[in-house]
Symmetry: C2
Subunit: 254 residues, 2 copies
DNA sequence: AAGTGGTCTAGACCACGTA
DNA sequence: ACGTGGTCTAGACCACTTT
């Protein structure tokens, strides 16, 4: 009796907490500022630490917070926009040409993952060239990529000299890219999906295993066949992927 | 002494559990099959339910599982590829033309979110047309979108007749789209980022609030200015976004 | 050594879908 | 009414970074 129309569903505590914290971040904290530690925050809001953590996890997922073990929780800067559209490659859209923002790190001969082998139309256990590249923004690693290139796509590549792998890996990777540039690229298509970082990618991205990542799979088409496949893994918490899908000229105001 | 190089870091239980479950899903379960409930799975693996849930959450994030309160946990089908590239629109790339896969649901006059207002170069509190659309795949909702159109972009639009909002909303939405089609589209650019579903979007996508979503922001450029902005929210667990970034003809083998 | 976030436990109760 | 997944608690210990 006397209760007005309050019969709304009870909002979960962590959800409400997230809203409160989000507002506080907007109004009371500056980028880079460190928050009180989890035990104190939980006490301050009168909830268990696990509940508070549920709210923090969401905010980290949305790129609002950055948490680091042994250090603390800080307010994250706005997400950085990274260009992944077709315009960013070199003259013909191949990776590694012109003012490419990627950094070539190494080369390996390895059997590609099943999904990649399917795209390349090669047998699953056939080793292909795997060129590892990485990308940073503002000193922070934002992406790591492996470009899979079947040997058949780069027939002109000289045989592996077999020198010490550490240094010659980069040279060989560059050689693979150089050979690729000789091919006339018909086009490329990309797909984006959510994934969780494998242990090795997590290390490269300075994250924990399982961290949310955006996986961009690029298929390079030459002569109506897939000549190469790139699998790039972007930190989902810090990145916004830009596609300049402009039909004609890139107008791109601002 | 005698210990070989085994000094690796102890893998977290939930991480190992995830691997075990993932392998089991590949070999012992069919798509759609329901798993034992969480309490039994936890007992079977000798871990607390919270730990098991951590593994299940990861697998759901990766699109391997689907969990529904009151029902159970089922093996998810492979992610569906949804086309969001520039080719999918009508003759000129505008939404709502030709064989558009989106379903127009309604119209509202509302002030856009701050981020959208910035793109539209309008004041934050200026109401604009908001056309709500949705998209399904295989009977399941996969995306919900709001297209924000400033009144200045569609000057030919007749005044709101003010009839009952339920039915006339769709008609008015269609009228806005029709007016848009009269404009010569210079181009469009998109960005993709990870987000978490707001309460209303979550309901539309048949998910819980906070569920991971891929947010696709599309900017429609007319005469070097932003004529409209679309904000589409895709279920991250079930969707893979396809961008046909082909420079020339879409070759798109397979 | 101290302090942080990350993992894990063993319970309890709630909201939801189905029978 | 029952069984499911979702929320929440109050602890404990671990891994990591910094002092």
């Amino acid at each position: 009796m006397g209760t007005t129309t309050l019969e709304t569903v009870p909002e979960p505590k962590y959800w409400h907490l997230k809203t409160v914290l989000s507002d506080a971040l907007d109004s009371e904290f500056a980028v880079g500022e460190i928050l009180p530690n989890e035990r104190e925050l939980a006490a301050r809001f009168g909830v268990a630490r696990a509940t508070l953590r549920q709210a923090l996890e969401q905010l980290e997922l949305e790129g609002r917070l950055q948490r680091r073990r042994g250090v603390g929780t800080t307010v994250a800067p706005p997400r950085v926009g990274v260009d992944v559209g077709p315009a960013q490659g070199g003259a013909q859209g191949w990776p590694g040409s012109a003012a490419d923002v990627w950094h070539t790190e190494g080369h390996e001969d390895t059997a590609p993952p099943a999904a990649v082998a399917r795209l390349l139309e090669t047998a699953e256990d056939t080793p292909v060239h795997a060129v590892r590249r990485s990308r940073t923004s503002g000193g922070q690693p934002v992406a790591t990529e492996v470009l899979y290139v079947p040997g058949a796509s780069v027939p002109g590549l000289p045989a592996d000299s077999g020198e010490d792998t550490e240094t010659s890996g980069v040279a060989r990777a560059r050689a693979v890219l150089r050979e690729l540039h000789r091919l006339a690229l018909d086009g490329q298509d990309r797909s984006v999906e959510l994934g969780s970082a494998r242990a090795d990618d997590a290390r490269r991205l300075d994250r924990l295993p399982g961290a949310p990542v955006l996986v961009v799979t690029t298929r390079y088409v030459v002569d109506r066949r897939t000549a190469a496949v790139g699998v790039a893994t972007f930190r989902a918490d810090t990145c916004r992927l830009n596609f300049a899908d402009t039909g004609a000229d890139p107008v791109l105001a601002g």
